[in-house]
């Protein structure tokens, strides 16, 4: 008897869906290996520095979590949006909205105790993220303008706004560099552990994952969001208010992305520059996609992306390779993942 295989357009079995992210990672490594060959690096050594070395010491392992903190926030923000079928590509801009707000509030709260100053900053940043997400959301709901375009373009608008602030009113009076004045001590996020940079923002990030999980799986709004995301027409038939649902999705997603601005300004840099984001908003899209639009998956994916970011630094330090190697690996991972996710809709069937 001869066996032949046929690819069918039916959803893959569950174990296969669970396996797809792993397959994506393996394929990514095979492809990155080829690139490492070009720069004449030993691929195994390189992978050791990217994947293993950051986890080998306490300090660098905690640094992975520090790097992951803003990514967890943007990944959960994007997860919420994508799960509801709202293609928010603007987490980057919403991050900056939050960061600018944190940098501003951080300089104003010097007279307040930390337990007031810090919550105030987080609330302000959430609000700012919502406001930045408002215009695309309003255009989408009222005039059916494609949010992919508007959210993306809003990212550039806020970068120019920040550039204006940094070269104008906020220019550092001492150094003259385009960076904002340092925030007050009471606005600095407390460290969680001795001898590490891990700060309160990490806890906030975990809470955001829990929040997104809670909304999506426990609330009526979350059920409506998932219905809209998976079947807009059917959701409309069943009486779901599509416009309202998408609108709320966009605002909450924008708010969560805004929180990431606080963790970077008040947890790491203590001022804002136009280079404060390492593409956190865009990486959030990778995190959400890699996490299969599940908030916990997105959180884990974000930590994994944090690991690669840390590893990219460690590989460049130890092997004298360019730091953007990590970015290359990240990009390959996204492309491979997106291709692999398409496979979710297919099964391989044996033909006898």
């Amino acid at each position: 008897m001869k066996f032949r295989f046929r690819i069918e357009r039916t959803p893959s079995p569950l174990w296969m869906i669970a396996l797809l992210p792993v397959i994506a990672v393996v394929i990514t490594f095979v492809i990155s290996m080829l690139i490492l060959q070009i720069v004449k690096a030993n691929p195994f050594e390189a992978f050791y520095y990217i994947l293993i070395s950051p986890l080998s010491t306490r300090t660098s392992a905690l640094e992975v979590l520090v790097k992951a903190t803003p990514l967890i926030l943007t990944s959960s923000a994007v997860t919420l949006a994508f799960a509801s079928g709202y293609w928010n590509i603007g987490a980057e801009g919403q991050f900056f909205a939050g960061a600018i707000t944190a940098a501003f509030l951080g300089t104003q709260v010097g007279a307040m105790p930390s337990y007031i100053a810090i919550p105030l900053m987080f609330m302000g940043a959430f609000l700012a993220g919502m406001i930045w997400a408002f215009i695309p959301a309003w255009l989408k709901v009222k005039m059916n303008v494609d949010e992919v375009v508007t959210t993306l373009l809003m990212n550039y608008v806020i970068l120019f706004f920040l550039s204006f602030l940094l070269n104008g009113p906020w220019r550092d009076p001492v150094s003259g560099w385009p960076q904002s004045p340092a925030i007050a001590d009471s606005a600095v996020l407390p460290k969680l552990l001795e001898r590490s940079r891990l700060h309160l923002g990490f806890i906030v990030a975990i809470m955001a994952v829990i929040l997104v999980w809670f909304i999506l799986s426990k609330t009526a709004l979350g059920l409506q969001m998932r219905a809209v995301g998976k079947g807009k027409d059917a959701a409309r038939f069943m009486g779901v208010n599509i416009g309202r649902t998408l609108f709320l999705t966009a605002l909450i997603s924008g708010g969560i992305a805004g929180l990431a601005g606080v963790t970077e300004v008040a947890g790491i840099h203590f001022h804002i520059t136009d280079a404060i984001s390492d593409g956190f908003g865009y990486t959030g899209i990778i995190g959400a996609t890699l996490g299969n639009l599940n908030p916990w998956g997105a959180g884990l994916a974000a930590i994994f992306l944090g690991l690669i970011a840390t590893g990219a630094q460690s590989v460049s330090r130890s092997m004298d390779l360019p730091v953007f190697l990590g970015n290359v690996v990240q990009a390959i991972l996204l492309l491979v993942t997106l291709s692999i996710i398409l496979l979710r809709n297919y099964s391989i069937k044996k033909v006898t």
């Binding site: 009526a220 219905a227 079947g231 038939f237 069943m238 009486g239």
Partner: protein, 500 residues
């Protein structure tokens, strides 16, 4: 002179015999109508002639020469062109570009040059188009003219038009008929696929009637009548008397008053519809698909806002309310397309709860225990083969329909709107759905049953309304209704019926 001869053409799709030894003959310079109900095999036959399908059996002669047609390209080379119901134009390109697309010698394309050529062709054939206009700016009628000119430009002498009037407004139909008449006089042979008797009697010279894949016969127009054609289309002799606009006698539950609405293509889909459905009654709404039934169901479900008129549920006006409000007022809705009523990626229990989410929610959070309980109860009550946590898309069509039925009927609705409730279901599931609808009626509900299945309409309804081109062509008591009579009303031969 005979240009096309199709002899004993058979075509089978799986277990369905779409064409059964069909003979068809086309003479030079005639408009030959191919008449039949939906699914009679008209389009299949013409797709074989145009090379889109290959016949299983039979022979095609073009100008007396036996020909094998393997593709539309073959067909065009042999002088046969076809304009299908769905246009195949590239909308960002100009009219001229669309017309020469795939028929341009060489690789260079000079816009002015091709516009000139298309302009000449347009004048020669008398098909008016603006060569430099972008297709996306054109109306449906104009696009159709581009399609026709595109076919003519390829030097064809046989033009097949598949239900060309389905997408047109009446004025556009007149324009189309005028150009067809001119083309016919210049020697073009035209095959006109239709199920509308009045159009066929207007435009054609000869008429071939298909029924259930078989050729019933070919008649000359002057020797025939709408009544004879209707009889050929539906099968038996027509008889019976109708009392149009029959009213129901019970307490009215749904009163539709002068509803007009646009369809998805921006054309008027509903024209001044008035209907009443009373308690303890099933009103069957029959009609060939695309005559406004879907749009009426959408208006009643709150998915389409009418431009005119009122829909009264009891004394409450509902035509401007949204689906959630309509459901809460006691309307159970079964959508035409099951996929449109259920989110496949959500679970069974989620789909059962979504329509009345308020009942399962406290302070914004869902009471999943209650959702589960509701699902367990409905699953057993409606004999649905599924678990509450199964993904809905994994269910069979019959179980999906039961799910929709359970959701629509569980709250004892005053009004049930069932659109094509048994489409695509097996015998068992069909029986089940029909019995449930009868049960609802016996429990006092008003049921509006929209169906293309005449047997279903005849076996369930108390009264039957027929829709044709967005209007109610007639309403009759089910006792007086026969398939033939309904078939006549459905094909637009209403005047004749009223005379009988």
């Amino acid at each position: 002179m005979v240009v096309i001869q199709m002899r004993g053409i058979s075509k089978r799709f799986g277990s369905v015999l779409a064409n059964d030894k069909v003979d068809f003959e086309l003479i030079k310079g005639e408009v030959h109508a191919l008449l039949g109900e939906n699914g009679a095999g008209k389009t299949t036959l013409m797709r074989i002639l145009y090379g889109l399908y290959q016949e299983d059996d039979g022979e095609i002669l073009i100008n007396g020469i036996s020909s094998q047609i393997n593709s539309p390209k073959d067909a065009i080379l042999k002088g046969v062109g076809m304009v299908s119901q769905h246009f195949t134009l590239v909308s960002p390109l100009t009219v001229a570009e669309n017309i020469v697309l795939g028929f341009n010698p060489g690789i260079r394309l000079n816009p002015l040059d091709i516009e000139e050529k298309v302009k000449k062709a347009s004048d020669r054939f008398g098909v008016v188009v603006n060569p430099s206009a972008l297709v996306r700016h054109l109306s449906v009628g104009e696009r159709q003219r581009v399609e026709i000119l595109k076919a003519l430009y390829r030097n064809i002498n046989v033009l097949i038009l598949d239900e060309p009037t389905a997408v047109l407004v009446p004025q556009e139909v007149d324009t189309l008929f005028e150009s067809l008449e001119r083309l016919r006089r210049e020697g073009l042979s035209i095959i006109f696929i239709s199920h509308k008797l009045n159009e066929v009697m207007t435009i054609s010279d000869r008429i071939t009637v298909l029924r259930d894949g078989r050729c019933i016969g070919t008649v000359l127009k002057q020797d025939s009548s709408e009544a004879e054609l209707a009889r050929m289309m539906v099968g038996r002799e027509t008889y019976g008397v109708t009392r149009p606009d029959e009213e129901c006698t019970g307490k009215p539950v749904l009163r539709i008053k002068n509803i007009s609405a646009f369809g998805s293509k921006g054309l008027v889909a509903l024209k001044d519809i008035s209907l009443t459905v009373c308690e303890n009654e099933i009103l069957g709404l029959a009609g060939v698909s695309g005559n406004g039934q879907s749009e009426l169901a959408k208006v009643l479900s709150g998915l389409l806002k009418p431009t005119n008129g009122q829909v009264l549920l009891g004394e409450t006006e509902i035509s401007r309310k949204n689906p959630a409000e309509i459901t809460s007022l006691g309307v159970g809705r079964i959508p035409e397309d099951r996929q449109e009523g259920l989110v496949g990626e959500l679970t069974v229990e989620e789909n059962l709860a979504l329509e009345r989410l308020g009942e399962f929610t406290r302070n914004g959070t869902v009471n999943w225990k209650k959702v589960r309980g509701n699902a367990v109860e409905l699953i057993s009550q409606y004999q649905i083969k599924a678990n509450p946590t199964d993904a809905t898309r994994k269910l069979s069509g019959g179980n999906m329909q039961k799910l929709i039925l359970a959701r629509a009927l569980s709250k004892k609705p005053k009004l049930v709107i069932a659109a094509q409730p048994t489409r695509g279901l097996d015998v068992g599931a069909t029986e089940y759905v029909r019995n449930r609808l009868l049960e609802e009626k016996n429990n006092g509900a008003a049921v509006l049953l929209i169906s293309e299945d005449l047997e279903e309409i005849l076996s369930l309804s108390d009264r039957i309304a027929v829709m044709f081109e967005g209007r109610i062509a007639g309403i009759l008591d089910a006792k007086n209704a026969t398939e033939e009579l309904l078939g006549l009303l459905m094909s637009g031969a209403k005047e004749m019926i009223n005379e009988v």
